[in-house]
């Protein structure tokens, strides 16, 4: 009951914020720096600024929540019964991917 309303709201909030951070991500890649092939050194040079790092951490956070919660919605829509098991798997997956993503971001600022 409580979870339903809150996850629904968070799906909307993450969507609105993704509009900003995913928009920025795509803007940076296609308009501001349309490289033929992305080079580690160039990406590293961009990521020295704190705001770039913030964008990518937020992108991970909102993106993963939105994606996995969206997936859960799709499953419930089609009559999912094993709720707790599914939620546990999705949470583990989300936390793992967040860690993996964070690791990648950190590689550029080290």
């Amino acid at each position: 009951m409580l979870v339903n309303a809150i996850t629904w709201l968070l799906q909307r909030i993450s969507a609105a914020l993704l509009l900003v951070v995913l928009g920025l991500h795509l803007w940076l890649l296609y308009v501001a720096n349309p490289a033929e092939i992305i080079q580690f050194s160039e990406a590293k040079a961009r990521l020295v600024t704190g705001s770039y790092v913030t964008i990518y951490v937020l992108l991970l956070l909102f993106g993963l929540f939105h994606a996995l919660n969206g997936l859960y919605t799709v499953m419930v829509d089609t009559g999912l019964r094993a709720r707790l098991v599914t939620i546990s798997i999705l949470v583990i997956l989300g936390v793992t991917l967040f860690g993996v993503g964070l690791y990648s971001v950190v590689q550029f600022i080290m």
């Binding site: 009951m1 409580l2 339903n4 309303a5 809150i6 629904w8 709201l9 919605t73 419930v76 829509d77 089609t78 009559g79």
Partner: protein
């Protein structure tokens, strides 16, 4: 074939007898201002007496004659043959409901869900004076319009979320719940919010607008459901009491 003739292709199925449904084709003379209900009546009166369908008032008030006509649920009595733009009419029973026979569906699941939201007004007992609600208040205007539901089940048959999830309460009952919850005099609005806020309540709606597309009363249940979602969230934060 003359244009004064209708080719009616009608779904036939008796679950007690038939292994599989079939389509029967009937030629029906076209008369002026003919509704699809007149077509099936003609078939039953003059061609095949065993055709089963349901109807009652014939003027779009009772909500009994909803059928799947040329690709969407419609009230047979309110659907002019001319409005279909073709003389080829395919008629099937209302989707998402069990079939009793031919075009007659079992409305039981629909009304089971209708009952879940307690579809009647429950007044606050402490109110001794009649509540004063200005007829021109915007909120009132919206409720008034949404009250026009005749429980024909067209929206229920059109909803793809009902189709994929038989537990989903569906547009009609949720719309009804909204008209009651939005009523300031309602004594059990929190109880109703708790019913519609469950997993198989409002959260299953994904704004497809199929309900609004087919409603013979031109209601927009999608909007009522959005109003309910909002109230569910507000109630969680203690703003809606």
């Amino acid at each position: 074939m003359s244009s004064r003739e209708i080719n009616a292709k009608i779904f036939r199925y008796d679950p007690e007898v038939d292994a599989e449904p079939r389509f029967d084709e009937f030629k029906v003379p076209l008369i002026d201002n003919m509704a699809v209900l007149d077509v099936v009546m003609h078939v039953q009166n003059y061609i095949d007496k065993t055709l089963a369908f349901r109807c009652s008032c014939r003027i779009g008030m009772c909500g009994s004659c909803a059928m799947y006509i040329n690709g969407k649920p419609r009230l047979a009595c309110r659907t002019q043959v001319k409005s279909l733009g073709t003389n080829n009419i395919t008629i099937m029973p209302l989707p998402n409901l069990p079939i009793i026979r031919d075009l007659a569906t079992d409305m039981e699941p629909f009304f089971e869900k209708w009952k879940k939201i307690k579809p009647y007004y429950v007044g606050k007992s402490e109110l001794t004076e009649p509540a004063v609600i200005r007829p021109d208040s915007g909120e009132r205007e919206f409720i008034d319009q949404m009250l026009d539901c005749i429980t024909c089940g067209c929206c229920y048959g059109a909803c793809s979320m009902v189709a994929t999830n038989e537990d989903y309460i569906g547009p009609a009952a949720l719309n009804r719940a909204y008209t009651l919850i939005a009523d300031k005099r309602d004594a059990i609005r929190i109880e109703r919010i708790n019913v519609v806020g469950r997993s198989y309540g409002v959260w299953r709606c994904h704004d497809q607008f199929n309900c609004a597309e087919v409603c013979p009363k031109k209601l927009v249940p999608t909007k009522s459901i959005q109003q309910l979602k909002k109230r569910c969230v507000l109630q969680k934060f203690g703003i809606f009491k």
